[in-house]
């Protein structure tokens, strides 16, 4: 399909205003404050267990933000993102242990590989609509898991270990948690920044058009498949970086930990819980979900009778049914209502 190419210039401001998500007031101040608080956190939280929880939140947030690019903005729901996470983790770990690469470079290579694979998958899959695409991603993730579980070179079911004998920033291996915290924070900030830039560029406009008005977008000459692929590749790249970070932090990966189906769900859930298609939604979602996760596990997990699973599942259903726009949507609605009330009041005074 060869249509008329749309100009790369940003679309008219009026169109942008209707398609761009509404912004909170004082947004920048809030972001700066949050960043400062996040930077200072390890100074105040000394216990490794709590630091670890903080890292988990950051990592979950980063994955959610990455997922959101394709799942939220472009509206292509992938439930197989763990394939890219695993590819990142395995690529960097193998390059590190077999070829003795620098871990930072290996991480980047994992991201590039994952993006390349996503292009290969996306080319046929993005011709599929809705459910079909989602099911294809599940199948791909499942196949990747089966391959790695049986691949001797990649440690098969036993997994791979990263040696601890070299430590420091060059080796990306640390004895304490704080450096991992800062790497996770940096990665999250980078992913958010890229997301932010996409949101404001013509790409973000195309993504939202693909999601909300695919037929109109196509009739204007936007190549749906191409821009879906761009979203998928960027998303996969950052998901893979997250996988490599996990490998460096745990120093051990196996098919269950980096290719498990539950993780794909979690990436999507973090976005949905926080607010699908919004910049900071997944960050909020990650905080809430990790708290619920750890909380229910602490309160009910010991029984081994699935109570934590029941609460987690009930929560998913309640969110899906009653709060499909997540925390961000909920706050926005609240703000809109307040604004409307104020407006009405002002009008009343005028009369």
């Amino acid at each position: 399909m060869k249509g008329i190419e749309m100009s790369k210039n940003p679309p008219p401001a009026a169109a942008m205003a209707t398609l761009a998500p509404p912004r909170l007031r004082y947004g920048r101040v809030l972001v700066a404050l949050a960043l400062l608080a996040a930077l200072a956190l390890p100074q105040f939280v000394g216990s490794p267990a709590h630091q670890n929880t903080a890292i988990l939140v950051l990592m979950a947030a980063q994955l959610g933000v990455a997922w959101n690019i394709v799942g939220g903005y472009a509206g292509q729901v992938s439930l197989g993102h763990v394939a890219f996470y695993g590819l990142g983790a395995y690529t960097s770990t193998l390059l590190l242990t077999v070829a003795h690469w620098n871990p930072w470079l290996a991480m980047l290579a994992g991201g590039v590989l994952a993006a390349a694979v996503s292009l290969m998958i996306g080319w046929p899959c993005f011709r599929l609509k809705g459910h079909y695409f989602t099911m294809a991603t599940i199948a791909v993730a499942e196949i990747v898991q089966i391959v790695f579980t049986n691949w001797e070179f990649a440690g098969a079911a036993v997994g791979l270990t990263i040696p601890m004998d070299e430590q420091g920033w060059a080796a990306m291996v640390f004895a304490d948690k704080a450096p991992y915290y800062y790497i996770a924070l940096g990665l999250l900030a980078l992913t958010l920044l890229v997301n932010f830039l996409i949101e404001r560029s013509y790409l973000g406009f195309y993504f939202r058009a693909i999601k909300d008005e695919p037929d109109a977008a196509r009739s204007l000459g936007v190549s749906l498949v191409r821009y879906k692929q761009v979203a998928f590749a960027v998303s996969s790249f950052f998901t893979a970086l997250g996988g490599s970070l996990y490998a460096q932090k745990e120093l051990y990966i196996d098919p269950v930990s980096v290719l498990g189906t539950g993780l794909s769900i979690k990436m999507a859930l973090v976005s949905i819980l926080g607010g699908i298609g919004s910049l900071f939604g997944p960050v909020i979602g990650a905080g809430v979900l990790t708290m619920i996760d750890e909380g229910t596990r602490m309160l009910f997990g010991g029984s081994g009778r699935g109570t934590d699973l029941i609460i987690y599942a009930a929560l998913i259903i309640v969110i899906a049914v009653y709060y499909p726009t997540g925390v961000v949507g909920w706050v926005r609605r609240f703000a809109q209502r307040r604004q409307a009330r104020r407006q009405r009041k002002a009008e009343g005074e005028q009369v």
Binding site: V77, E142, I146, I317
Partner: protein
């Protein structure tokens, strides 16, 4: 590879394929009528298995004889799920629909784990046991019974859809919800009916499986992906397509296991799935 092994493998693939077909019939019906992917379908099967198991363990009733009861229980569960959850997301975005059934899947697994512990359970004494020898190939009698049962139920559902007024109303709703409503068909009722029948089919499949398959809270995971493949290959909404595709998938699965090793069984089926998605997304018998 000897000829006997080949025939034996094909036969066992055919039998498990019939079960796949029955699981997929319920799924395809729900999808066909209301365009919702039910991730919790494997859990309907799991509840069917536990239903049969407890009727057997507590009242010494054979799973084969309690099938109608299992079907009835699951029908009620399906309708309940529709009324309580699904009816509220009919007009919601696709993500909400997916995650609501996905949440149900996890919820049902959690409930099963809570009530019955994660142990493996088996029905060890059933009316049909042992093997039948047919022209040199050995077939397990429970599997054979299950296969025959699956065919009967699948054909029954097909006849219901094509020969009864309620079935016609269901098909009409699947074809065009709004037009059907103008003809006086209550689409809410039809959706509930589809969920009821869909769940009942999975429940019966569970009952049939319970005599030769271990029963545990996550057993549905073994079937849901394959059921998706079958539904897709058969064409969303097509009962006869599901029957055909079920058999095909069963045979391909065991042949893949025979040729590449059992660990790649599922991978072979999934590759087939992707190939179908690419080249014939409407499936074998689906409408384009």
């Amino acid at each position: 590879m000897s000829f006997e092994i080949l025939v034996q493998t094909l036969a066992s693939g055919l039998l498990i394929g019939l079960i796949y077909a029955l699981v997929a019939v319920g799924l395809t019906m729900i999808f066909g009528v209301m365009d919702i992917v039910n991730f919790s379908h494997g859990e309907f099967l799991m509840f069917g298995m536990y239903g049969s198991f407890w009727l057997y363990a507590l009242f010494a009733l054979d799973p084969l004889f309690t099938l109608p009861l299992t079907a009835l229980m699951l029908f009620a569960l399906g309708v309940l799920v529709y009324r309580l959850v699904i009816s509220k997301v009919i007009h919601a975005p696709m993500v909400s629909q997916m995650f609501s059934t996905f949440g149900l899947m996890l919820l049902f697994r959690g409930i099963a784990q809570f009530l019955w512990k994660p142990d493996f359970r088996t029905v060890d004494q059933s009316v049909v046991t042992g093997n039948a020898s047919l022209a040199g190939i050995q077939l397990g009698l429970p599997q054979l019974t299950a296969g025959v049962g699956a065919i009967l139920v699948t054909v029954g559902v097909y006849l219901f859809l094509t020969r009864t007024r309620a079935g016609a109303a269901l098909e009409a709703t699947a074809a065009d919800k709004d037009a059907a409503r103008l003809m006086g068909i209550d689409s809410q009722k039809m959706f509930a009916l589809a969920w009821g029948i869909g769940a009942a089919c999975a429940g019966v499949a569970g009952g049939l499986l319970s005599t030769f398959f271990p029963i545990f809270p996550e057993v549905g995971a073994n079937f849901i992906l394959i059921a998706f493949v079958v539904v897709n290959l058969g064409g969303f909404g097509s009962v006869m397509g599901a029957l055909l595709a079920g058999i095909l998938v069963g045979v391909i699965e065991v042949m893949g296991g025979l040729l590449l090793g059992p660990q790649y069984k599922l991978a072979v089926v999934l590759v087939l799935f992707l190939a179908v998605l690419m080249f014939r997304p409407q499936g074998l018998m689906g409408k384009a």
